[in-house]
């Protein structure tokens, strides 16, 4: 059998190069297909990854704890006590990278020139800095220094809309625990920038203590955000936190907090497979055609080999081997080309001409292609496995030739 395998491979290899034009055309097609599969997947993955990462760093963390009514009605009426007891112990475990509490309510911000509706977030600056990006993205002035800081950090776009500046005062109005309008002047101490315009325009940050005092909620908070090690695997963390937090609060992983992103990630997984299969099918017609032509040209030879005592099985393996070799070379070149295209683009592809369109999808205007080993493996495996099955039919027919007729065929 081993001897057979060697001769089968040798025949397959040499036959492949007999009609080098046809083989080269087919190789180019396989190469283009493979490249497209991997490159496109890398782009999509990059886009979704970025969306998820940005969005997670833009606030949710991996798991959040809320009052059960908060998500539907995000006001100061629906607050929870800060973590203590069992929950605090869970939060001290090593699998929790960081956690922070926030008071997060709708508010109105007014400058001398204009008024806007925003989301007011009271944060613990030291803790928050380890979860979300705001601290790193302050481009002017300073970040908040403590939970009792009396300053306010706003986005660049909001600053422009309000026609105000760092150091100037603005008035924040929101509803307090007793449904009364509470208002208070704040001095803008810092400005942040974000990849997502709506974030830059819609969020303002203040010290948690200051906001609690303003709204009269003592130490209660709107949410606890918890950051684990990997956003793709939050199930264990979610379960641990949910158990410790008890039944009176709602504990949710990010996929459920942002169903759009969660479903986007799932849809993308499905799409990658569909894309690879569709491309393969488009390719498969050419592949089968090539094999059919190759066999047709060699009917007599195949008859001869059968007459000499080569088994139909060996003929079948020879043709399947030819097809697999062809695919393997095409795949190798395609993989290499995809890698070579993605690698220089790692720094990001600027798509800012459609920045607002990308924002519409919730994506940033720079795409960072992400080449995942599992996608590359998936593409290669799908092509080889389906390629194997696609070549079975012509190979089977060839192996069933009647040697006498085949050999006398002109």
């Amino acid at each position: 059998m081993m001897g057979n395998l060697r001769i089968v491979l040798r025949l397959a290899w040499r036959n492949l190069w007999r009609n080098y034009r046809r083989t080269l055309i087919m190789l180019t097609a396989i190469f283009v297909a493979t490249w497209a599969m991997i490159f496109m997947t890398a782009l999509m993955r990059g886009m979704v990854d970025d969306m998820v990462k940005d969005s997670i760093s833009a606030l949710p963390g991996h798991v959040q704890i809320h009052h059960p009514a908060y998500r539907d009605d995000p006001t100061i009426a629906n607050v929870i006590a800060p973590p203590d007891g069992e929950l605090l112990e869970v939060l001290r475990r090593p699998e929790v990278v960081a956690w922070a509490t926030r008071v997060r309510v709708p508010a109105v911000i007014s400058s001398e020139r204009d008024t806007r509706g925003v989301t007011l977030v009271g944060i613990e600056p030291e803790r928050e800095a380890r979860i979300s990006f705001v601290a790193d993205d302050v481009v002017e002035g300073r970040f908040l220094e403590s939970r009792d800081d009396r300053g306010l950090v706003v986005g660049r776009r909001l600053l422009e809309k309000l026609a105000t500046d760092v150091g100037k005062r603005v008035v924040i109005m929101s509803q307090d625990q007793d449904n009364e309008i509470a208002d208070r002047g704040f001095r803008i101490v810092g400005v942040f920038e974000s990849k997502l315009a709506q974030f830059e325009e819609g969020f303002v940050f203040a010290g948690e203590g200051t906001i609690q005092e303003l709204l009269g909620v003592s130490d209660a908070v709107s949410e606890v955000a918890i950051l684990g090690t990997d956003y793709r695997d939050v199930e264990a963390l979610h379960r641990a936190v949910a158990e410790a937090a008890g039944p009176d609060v709602e504990v949710l992983p990010w996929q459920e907090l942002d169903t759009y992103l969660g479903s986007m990630l799932a849809v993308m997984d499905g799409f990658v497979v569909v894309w690879i299969v569709v491309i393969f099918l488009a390719l498969s017609f050419g592949l089968v055609n090539t094999l059919v032509m190759a066999i047709f040209e060699r009917v007599r030879e195949i008859g001869l080999m059968l007459a000499l005592g080569m088994t139909p099985r060996s003929i079948l393996s020879q043709i399947v081997a030819e097809s697999i070799l062809l695919l393997a070379i095409g795949l190798a070149v395609g993989n290499l080309a995809a890698w070579a295209t993605v690698e220089p683009l790692k720094g990001g592809i600027d798509v800012s001409i459609v920045a607002e369109g990308m924002e519409f999808f919730g994506a940033a205007s720079v795409l960072y292609p992400a080449l995942y080993l599992k996608d590359v493996v998936l593409a290669n495996v799908i092509v080889l496995v389906l390629g194997f099955f696609a070549s079975l039919s012509p190979a089977w027919r060839a192996s069933r030739y009647d040697p006498v007729r085949a050999i006398t065929k002109v």
Binding site: R22, A29, V32, A36, P106, M264, F285, N289, F361
Partner: protein, 409 residues
Amino acid sequence: MSITFRLAWRNLWRRKRRTWLTVGAMVFSNVILVFMISVQFGMYEMMIDNTLRAQTSHLQVQAPGYKDDHKIRQVVPDVSLLAAELRQGLATEDVAARASAFALVSSADRSFGLQITGVEPQFEDRVSSLPGLITEGRFLSDSMAEEIVIGRVLARNLRVGVGDELTFIGSGRDGSFAAAVVTVVGIFESGMQELDRGFAEVPLGFFQMIFAMENAGHAIAIMAPGLIQVSSTRSRAEALLPDGQELMVHDWDVLLPGLKQAIQADFVSAWFMYGILIVLVAFSVLNTQLMSVLERTKEFGIVMSLGVTPGRLGRLVMLETTLMGCVGMFLGMVLGGALVLWLNQHGFSYPGMDEMAGKFNLPSRIYPDLSAVGLLMGPTIVLISSIAASLYPAIRLQWMQPVKAMRAA
């Protein structure tokens, strides 16, 4: 039927299986393209239509700078009067004046800051779908009525229903304190998160009074008869604007740049994918036709020695490809069209679409329409690229030498 044509057709079926496999590649790609393009165009149209109908409409007359800053001072003077003139000048009722300002809206329990828009109750339904989306109560009645309609989510967050009162506080055009009490008369449900959560409409006259707007407004929304007529309607509207005032007419894509760019970004990535499919078909055709030419070297040699020019043989090969391409195009259009028609009846969805659809102002089940563009665009490009792919084998024939060719095995 000319003899060349008959010859080409018969040559095509000399190697049935090869021809069918090549046609199969075309049909496969064509079906995918017809399906994808139909769904894609259908979705774009719905995205545009739903978004424009709910929010901006096709065109808006605004003061310069308003679209970026949304400042209450950037006004269109005598807005109702101008709207009436435009109605007359454009000979259409699909024009409505609007004004909007930021206010803090409070119910007994809750307060939210949001954008309040003043609209002309008798004309708003001509430019916007919102009046028709009222699921509870009714739309605004009179220009001076102290009434408000709000989105479903906002109503829930404010904990109010039809008949309840809301107060709103803001600042007027002159910087004065603006406040009023209004009655909720209707609640709409658009399915668009943004609108259902943070949008409220009051009558324009009432709005102007409260916010000290006098007769001014912020925009005049104009609906063109269709997307194609937007730019012509725009130039007509521009001509009707009064001299001496600095007013501008903006297209929807200027008003909502995100929408157009989202479509562009999607369009580009979709065409990248289609391009790959088309290239793969072209390779398939190239392979088949090259082989078919090489196989017939001897035959071509004989025919050439009889005096047939290489150019004629080249045309024969191209004609064969064209015939094959037409079979592929026809079958692809029939199958693809049938698929789209079936989906037009039964709808089409994929897991996760619910969540995504709300974000793009789309229904969660898509019923693609069969259009000429959707049906013809993909298959035509496949046909053209197939013919282009057979250029190489056809051109190769020009260097063929009859004697050498005849000796070929």
